[in-house]
């Protein structure tokens, strides 16, 4: 069976991280989200993937050119006009029933297998969720879908739609018909099909996560890192202690006195320490340098990052190419953040720094601060407000 993955979206709510890449390419446990999705699909019975790309598609196509586990065909959605429109681009490659998955959804293999094996014409994966109002809340009767209510204003229901469906080939005609009526998103199309008395079966998914806001990356990283292959490569000096599941990539050098408690993933060509502490569940990308006496916990550090000595980083995201000079620290805690006009309360969050920033010595960041790309921050600053991309804080 084929699967269509919708990976054309920008992910505006994930800025500044999506300024240089589509949201499906954000890394968790050192692999893009999309790669985690493909890995889960490859042994579940899916034989071919149609990848609908759009925003910054070269990043996706360049990364997956060597991916041999499963056949990938690319289709381009030039303008982001909704999920149903994205799906319609795959029409020529579909001959029978198929699965559609949003590319930023991390789903487990068993749930996909269940979806494939289900014999109903239409089927949707649903999930129990503590905060269903964040998503589309799903109402079920006799195991069949009755209604999807997008982002309800009150707390109702327990189940949400994952956005993952098994659909028949005829869906493309329906999408076209509804498009003429001004309906562009897939869940509305499904909603209307229910009104037309179509039966949509529901299956409970085992594990499912999606990435909507920047802090989701930390939570998803924590989950995915548990599955990581823990082998040790590179050069390990004397006096290095590693405990638990630790992956160290080749050509990485861990200097003496480092204390690494897994689950931790460290990429290739890095230099860590001496005397640095890396605590769970931290991911460090390739070619990054962690200087002596630095502590990092529960964070996502991407490629080419340079973290100065005596720094303390927790529950944070540091994007590619950023330089933090010595004595950088951030305070974890609670904050209410404004993302694209919505107010979100987040617990236990650190700092989120975009690509290619340079932050000088002894800077402190308060909980939940988001710093854009290419910012320059002078020494001894206290960051208590978001900073837009390309700013200078003197």
């Amino acid at each position: 069976m084929k699967a269509v993955i919708l990976a054309a979206g920008e992910g505006k709510r994930l800025r500044p991280f999506t300024e240089t890449m589509p949201k499906v390419m954000l890394p968790v446990a050192n692999k893009p989200v999309l790669e985690h999705v493909l890995d889960a699909l490859k042994n579940s019975g899916i034989t071919e993937i149609i990848l609908v790309v759009g925003y910054k598609k070269e990043v996706i196509m360049d990364y997956f050119k060597d991916y041999k586990e499963i056949k990938i065909t690319y289709v381009v959605q030039d303008k982001q006009l909704g999920t149903a429109h994205a799906l319609s681009k795959a029409e020529n490659h579909i001959n029978s029933s198929f699965i559609v998955i949003p590319g930023d959804n991390i789903i487990d293999r068993k749930s996909i297998a269940k979806l494939i094996q289900d014999t109903s014409e239409y089927c949707i994966l649903i999930k129990e969720h503590p905060q269903p109002s964040k998503y589309g809340v799903v109402f079920i009767k006799d195991g069949k879908l009755k209604e999807i209510v997008e982002k309800p204003s009150e707390e109702i229901g327990r189940f949400i739609s994952t956005g993952i469906y098994k659909l028949p080939k005829t869906i493309f005609k329906d999408i076209e018909n509804f498009r003429l009526q001004g309906i562009y998103d897939l869940s509305s199309v499904i909603q209307n099909l229910i009104k037309q008395e179509k039966i949509i079966n529901t299956i409970l998914a085992d594990s499912w996560m999606d990435i909507v806001y920047p802090w989701d990356l930390i939570h998803v990283n924590e989950n995915m890192i548990r599955d990581v292959k823990s082998t040790i490569g590179g050069i390990i000096e004397k006096g290095v202690i590693t405990k638990g599941d630790v992956l160290i990539g080749k050509e990485t050098k861990i200097h003496s006195g480092c204390y690494i408690i897994g689950p931790v993933v460290i990429g290739e060509g890095c230099e860590i320490g001496p005397n640095a502490c890396i605590f769970p569940s931290t991911t460090i990308g390739n070619n990054s340098i962690i200087n002596p006496f630095t502590e990092i916990r529960n964070s996502v550090v991407m490629d080419d990052v340079h973290i100065g000595s005596n720094s303390f980083i927790t529950h944070s995201i540091i994007a590619r190419g950023t330089i933090l000079r010595n004595h950088f620290s951030n305070i974890p805690g609670e904050n209410t953040l404004e993302i694209e006009g919505e107010y979100k309360k987040v617990k236990n969050i650190g700092v989120m720094i975009g690509e290619d920033c340079t932050i000088e010595s002894q800077v402190v960041a308060e909980p939940g601060i988001i710093i854009g790309r290419k910012c320059k921050i002078a020494p001894l600053k206290r960051l208590n407000k978001n900073i837009p991309s390309e700013s200078k804080v003197m």
């Binding site: 196509m61 360049d62 050119k65 690319y74 050509e251 230099e271 320490g273 001496p274 340098i289 290619d356």
Partner: protein, 604 residues
């Protein structure tokens, strides 16, 4: 130069032959041909790329084939001139890469004997010459024929009288044997047959070989059988895909955001504050060095010129950069001098010849190359790989920046060894090197701006590039890139030299690209820009993004970010590469296979 393939074995020889040939297309692509023996020699050849030939090929049965993709050197691009060439009795077929220098005399002699020629090429002579020497044994015939030939060659020959045998021979052109199971291959280049077997036997100059489907025999220049061991090739030459990019060259320009980091891998440690190469290289760099020679061709030569500035600045040692085609005949080859040869492919003929001359004169040789296992790595005392992955686009891009960075590292190490710089300097430079991916990404983001500027100069008749100091070779390289792929005449000049002649060429239709970094000669280059503008041309300046002066002087400005004086050359060349690319693309030129050029030049 051309690509040649021979196949004999249990598979369909036409399918395997064409499959392998496609991987040699970068060597030449103005025409292609194949001859399969199925009772007689079945020859098919066409002008154009291999896919043109493939369209016209019927289903041919047969287990022995010779195949050719051509880059014309003697004789124009026509179907008759394409290889394979047949002998007069149509039984012997040959494919050839190289130049037969005395072909005219041989042709006269053969015509006098009654042999009939159908092309204007030098290669065809070989077919008739072998027929003339043929007495039932193809190897002896080829051996005797080649004794009369002057020049250089890699040839593959078959005879329909002996349909179970392929004969190959080489002299100064590459030819490798691929040893298979129940099949054997001959090719100009290993990647051609790597999909089928990873066992190779390297033919040495002057040697001949005879292949059956089960057997490989190698003969030396006296026609005695020699024992030869197989080498196992470990690398996996995957055909790079263009991914989302319309051209390999654009993809490779963008690859530089990663390749500038890969070239550093395993060589520098930020925390240990050191630069370290492989032992052989280290020993060479520790030895007494009072004079350094850099030898290369084309873009690598310009990388050498940039390297000269870097190494002289860091070490104070005199560096002389020579073109390989000149150095091999006329260069100073002082015993014990240090010679750095740069060749992306490791097979460039002139550079290899220079390497051999340098070694013969007792020089210490170091090769900078991108291809592991290439001839250059096997011949030199030591080598440093640029680790940039395969470069498919004919115009060199990412290998240029990798070569410059490698020369920079070498300069730093020598300077450190000779106490000209200490740990702090090394540390500072390492940090600057580590910033290169970011700096290249910044330069790449300027691509849309560069496209706009390209629109304004795409109709130019000539473009001049000027720079001073380290920017002078960048000007040369920028001009070469533009020339190579857009076919617009372009020339680079040292900014101070314009007034000594080239000024005469400046008009409104000859834009000038001025590289204006804020170094000690900044004021001079501003003055040069003024002089140029007085004569009409549009001036495009490449300047630092902190430069606020430049707008007052130049008509158009492209900015780069750099935190390092010595490494500003990297973002500047990325901008010039993109400029050349966009101009060529706007003018509809064939970017990955520019007309008349081939990637690795193995003719002189």
């Amino acid at each position: 130069m051309c690509g040649i393939i021979g196949y004999i074995g249990f598979r369909n020889a036409k399918e395997v032959g064409i499959d392998c040939l496609k991987r040699l297309e970068y060597r030449g692509y103005d025409s292609a041909g194949i001859s399969v023996i199925d009772k007689i020699q079945q020859v098919y050849k066409e002008v154009g790329e291999i896919k043109e030939l493939e369209k016209k090929l019927p289903d041919i049965k047969g287990n022995i084939s010779i195949n050719h993709t051509r880059w014309a050197t003697t004789g124009g691009v026509t179907k008759e001139n394409a290889h394979p060439h047949l002998s007069t009795n149509k039984k012997i077929a040959i494919v050839h890469n190289g130049i037969i220098e005395n072909f005219r005399k041989l042709k006269e002699q053969l015509i006098a004997k009654g042999y009939k020629f159908t092309s204007q090429t030098d290669s065809e002579v070989l077919a008739h010459l072998i027929e003339d020497n043929y007495k039932g044994d193809l190897e002896k015939a080829v051996f005797n024929a080649l004794k009369q030939v002057e020049g250089y060659y890699a040839i593959v020959v078959t005879s329909s009288d002996e349909p179970d045998k392929i004969v190959g021979a080489r002299k100064d052109s590459p030819l490798v044997i691929g040893v298979g199971d129940n099949e054997n291959f001959l090719a100009s280049d290993i990647p051609a047959f790597l999909k089928y077997t990873n066992r190779v036997i390297y033919l040495n100059d002057g040697e001949l070989c005879s292949l059956t489907d089960k057997d490989v025999k190698v003969f030396d220049s006296n026609n005695n059988v020699v024992e030869r061991n197989e080498d196992i090739i470990k690398w996996d030459f995957k055909d790079a895909e263009k991914s989302g990019f319309p051209h390999f060259m654009l993809k490779e320009i963008f690859d530089q955001k990663d390749t500038v980091a890969y070239v550093l891998r395993g060589r520098i440690s930020e925390i240990d504050r050191k630069i370290e190469f492989h032992e052989k290289v280290e020993n060479l760099l520790k030895s007494e060095l009072d004079f350094i020679n850099i030898v290369a061709c084309g873009t690598s030569y310009y990388a050498g010129l940039v390297g000269k500035y870097l190494i002289e600045k860091l070490t104070g040692i005199s560096v002389v950069v020579d073109l390989a085609s000149e150095y091999r005949y006329f260069g100073p080859k002082k015993e014990n001098s240090f010679v750095i040869l740069i060749t992306q492919s490791g097979e460039t003929l002139d550079t290899l010849a220079a390497l051999k001359e340098a070694k013969a004169s007792g020089c210490k040789t170091l090769v900078i190359t991108n291809v592991i296992g290439s001839s250059a790595t096997r011949l030199s005392d030591s080598y440093v790989l640029t680790q940039s992955g395969p470069e498919i686009g004919v115009a060199a891009t990412k290998t240029f920046t990798a070569q410059v960075i490698t020369l920079f590292l070498i300069g730093l190490k020598i300077a450190f060894n000779q106490n000209k710089i200490g740990f702090d300097e090394v540390s500072k430079n390492i940090l600057e090197l580590k910033e290169l991916p970011k700096i290249v990404r910044d330069a790449l983001e300027k691509s849309p701006t560069i496209l706009e500027i390209a629109k304004q100069i795409k109709h130019a008749k000539s473009v001049f590039f000027i720079g001073r100091g380290i920017n002078y070779p960048l000007a040369l390289e920028g001009a070469l890139k533009l020339k190579e792929i857009s076919y617009i005449h372009a020339e680079g000049f040292a900014a101070g030299e314009l007034k000594h002649g080239p000024f005469a060429l400046l008009t409104e239709t000859t834009p000038v690209v001025a590289i204006a970094t804020k170094d000690s000669t900044y004021d001079k280059i501003l003055a040069n820009i003024g002089e140029v503008k007085a004569r009409g041309p549009t001036v495009l300046a490449i300047a630092d993004d902190a430069d606020t002066e430049i707008e007052k002087h130049a008509d158009l400005v492209l900015r780069y970010t750099s935190h390092s004086e010595l490494l500003s050359c990297i973002p500047i060349i990325v901008i010039l590469q993109l400029l050349a690319y966009h101009v060529a693309n706007l003018n509809g030129c064939s970017i990955d296979k520019p007309r008349n050029l081939a990637k690795s030049v193995t003719v002189e």
